[in-house]
Point group: C2
Chain length 352, copies 2
C-alpha cells in the first residue's frame, strides 16, 4: 500500500495541448461552433485528462465505500445505523438506486466495506477492507486515529488501482454510511471556512429540531478537537469517516493514474475536497456530476472550482447523481466520435 | 386531416389520482423519501399523463420538422439557406447531432419536410409533406397564409398520429430551418409580451451587429403585421414558420392522444407555446428537456410554467437537448421499476 505522499508525487498536471486539438475536431462537426455547449466542454476536458484528442467510451466503475459512524449515537439521522450493512447487501443484490442508474449508464458497481459495523460473509462484488467497525463518536473523541485515516486512504487508493488494473478508465466514488453527512458538514465547514450552519443540511431527512441539534453537535466537535484546516489529514481523522478517507485515497490514485473522477454529491465531493487540499493538481481530474440538495455541497463545489453537470434536487448519495451524469459524459463522447463533419456530409459552413 | 378545433376538443386534463399513487410506490423504495428529487417528480408526471401508476420505458420518437424561411433573404443567419436541405440529408444519413443523441437514448428519428426549398427524392426515414417551398419573408409580407399555417399544423398532427400508430409513447419535436430563430423570437415577443430585444438571441452565431439587425427586422415585422396576441393562429401565420406550425400540431395531437411531449429548445418550445395559447390543457403533457442558451427560451418556459431538466448551454436545436434529457426521463422509469422496496430488501425504515 502506497503512502499518501507517494501517491501525490505521481499526480501530474493535465495535458493543455489536447484541449484545443479536441476543439478543432468539434468545430469540424455539422453544427454551429460551440452549439453543444457543455458537451463540447466535457469532451475537451476528457481529452486533456487522457492527454489525447482521440476519445473512446470509457469503461466506468462505481466504487461504493461503506462505513459506520459513531456519531449516530448522538442521534444525527432519522435512520438507524443498521441500515448501513442492510444497504450493502442491497447494493450487492442490485436493488439500490446506484445499481439501477449504473446499469443504465453502463457502469460496473463494486462495494467496499472499509468500516461497516457488521461481519459480512464473502460475497461477489464486495471488497472487504475493513479498517475498523465504524468510527468513534466525533462528538466525544477524534473519529479516527491518524493511522486509521491513512489506512482508509490506502484502501481507497488500492481499490482505484485494482479497478484501473481491471480496465477502468473513469472512476465514480459512491458512499453509504448512516451519519456521514454530519462528518462531511464538519469537514466542509473547516476546509471551506464556512459557518457550520451554512453547510449542514437535513441528510436523509431531519426535521428542524434535528437539524439544529446536528449543527450544535458539529460546532461542539470542532471546538473540542480544534483541527487545523492547514493539516487536512489530521482534520480528516478528527472529523471524518472511514468511507470519506477511502474516497480521498480513491480520488488521489485515480488522478495519479491520469483517470477522470466523476463526483457524486456531498460525501463524494467531501473526499475529493480533502484530496485537493492535500494536492491541488487533483482538481484537473475532477468532474462534478450534479449539485446536491444537501446545502454544503455548493460550498465544496465552489472551493474546487467545479460546475456541476446536473441539478436535479438529488440527495441520495451512493454515487447515484454521478451515474446519472455519466449519461451526459457518454453523450459528449458519442458526439465527438459519431457526428459527421461539414466536409463528409457536404454541408455548407458559415459565411464569414 | 383534422382541423385544429377538432384536435383541441380531444385534449383532456391529466389524471390527478395517478400522481399520488406513483409517489406511494416511490416512497416504498430503498432510499430516503424524496431523495431522488426530480427523478421522482418525472415519474409522477408520467403516471399522471399516462393515467396509470404502472410505468414502462416509453417507445420514443423524434420528429425533426424542416422548413425554410423567407426572412433569410434579409440576412438573419450566418449560414446560407441551402444548409436546411443539406442537414435534412445529414439527418437521413444518421450523422447529425440529433441522430447521435437519439441513438444513445433509444429514440427513433423521423425527418419531416414540411417546407424545405428543395426537391428531395423519396428517402427512407423522410416524411414528405411539403406545404410550400419555405415561407415568405416576414419582413415584407405575412410568412404564411392562414390556410398554409393550418395545413402545416395538420401535417404535424398527422405525423404525431402516424408515430403513435407505430407505437410511439413519447414524442420529441425537433426542428431544422435556417432563419427559424428569427420567427420564434418574433412569436415569443408577441405571445409572452416581452420586448423583442429581450427574447432575440444570436441563433447559429450572429455577431453584435447581426443581432442588432435581427432585432430591428423583427420589430419592423411586428409593426408591419400588427398581429393580435389573442389570435395565436393568425400570429403564427404572420410571423411563424412551417416547421413551427407543424410542431404546434404535433404537440396538440400528442396531448389529444395522452402522450407526453419532451420539448427541446427555442424552436420546439415556440411551437408548444402556440399550442398552449390555443389550448392551455396542453401544458400538462409538456416536459422541458433543457434550457437553451438562446435567450428567449427562458421566457417561453416561464410562460408555460415549465422547469427544464437539463441546463447545459446547448443551442443546436434538432431535438438534441430533448434527446439528451430522455436519458434522465428513462432513469426515472428505471428507478421506478427496478429499485428494491424496504420490505423486499429487508432494509429498516425511518425511525419516526
Amino acid at each position: 500500500m502506497s503512502s499518501v505522499r507517494e501517491i501525490i508525487k505521481r499526480i501530474k498536471p493535465l495535458d493543455p495541448s489536447a484541449g484545443p486539438r479536441a476543439q478543432e475536431h468539434l468545430d469540424d462537426l455539422t453544427k454551429p461552433r460551440g452549439s453543444l455547449g457543455r458537451l463540447e466542454e466535457l469532451a475537451r476536458r476528457l481529452a486533456e485528462i487522457y492527454g489525447s484528442a482521440e476519445l473512446e467510451q470509457p469503461l466506468a466503475y462505481v466504487a461504493v465505500f461503506a462505513a459506520d459512524h459513531g456519531v449516530t449515537q448522538s442521534g444525527v439521522s432519522p435512520y438507524p445505523a443498521e441500515v448501513t450493512p442492510q444497504m450493502v447487501l442491497n447494493f450487492l443484490n442490485g436493488g439500490a438506486g446506484i445499481n439501477v442508474l449504473a446499469r443504465q449508464a453502463w457502469a460496473e458497481v463494486r462495494v467496499v466495506d472499509v468500516g461497516v459495523d457488521y461481519d459480512f460473509e464473502e460475497l461477489p462484488g464486495l471488497i472487504s477492507a475493513k479498517v475498523a467497525r465504524g468510527t468513534a463518536n466525533l462528538a466525544q473523541a477524534p473519529a479516527m486515529s491518524l493511522e486509521q485515516a491513512e489506512q482508509a486512504i490506502a484502501v481507497g487508493a488500492g481499490v482505484a488501482e485494482k479497478l484501473i488494473g481491471e480496465g477502468a478508465q473513469l472512476l465514480i466514488p459512491g458512499d453509504m454510511g448512516i451519519g456521514n453527512t454530519t462528518s462531511c458538514a464538519a469537514l466542509t465547514a473547516l476546509l471551506c471556512a464556512r459557518p457550520v450552519a451554512e453547510v449542514t443540511g437535513r441528510g436523509a431527512g431531519l426535521d428542524d429540531e434535528g437539524l439544529a441539534q446536528k449543527v450544535a453537535i458539529i460546532e461542539k466537535a470542532i471546538a473540542l478537537h480544534r483541527p487545523d484546516p492547514g493539516d487536512p489529514l489530521r482534520a480528516l481523522a478528527a472529523l471524518g469517516g472511514l468511507e470519506i478517507a477511502a474516497i480521498c485515497g480513491f480520488v488521489l490514485e485515480a488522478a495519479a493514474q491520469g483517470k477522470p473522477v466523476l463526483l457524486d454529491g456531498f460525501i463524494s465531493t467531501c473526499g475529493a475536497l480533502v484530496a485537493a487540499k492535500l494536492c491541488p493538481e487533483v482538481t484537473g481530474y475532477l468532474l462534478a456530476g450534479h449539485c446536491s440538495v444537501e446545502i454544503g455541497h455548493r460550498a465544496q463545489l465552489e472551493a474546487l472550482g467545479l460546475r456541476p453537470i446536473l441539478d436535479l434536487d438529488l440527495r441520495l448519495g451512493e454515487g447515484s447523481g454521478a451515474a446519472l451524469a455519466l449519461n451526459v459524459l457518454r453523450a459528449a463522447v458519442y458526439i465527438y466520435n459519431e457526428m459527421a463533419t461539414f466536409a463528409s456530409a457536404g454541408v455548407s459552413g458559415r459565411e464569414e
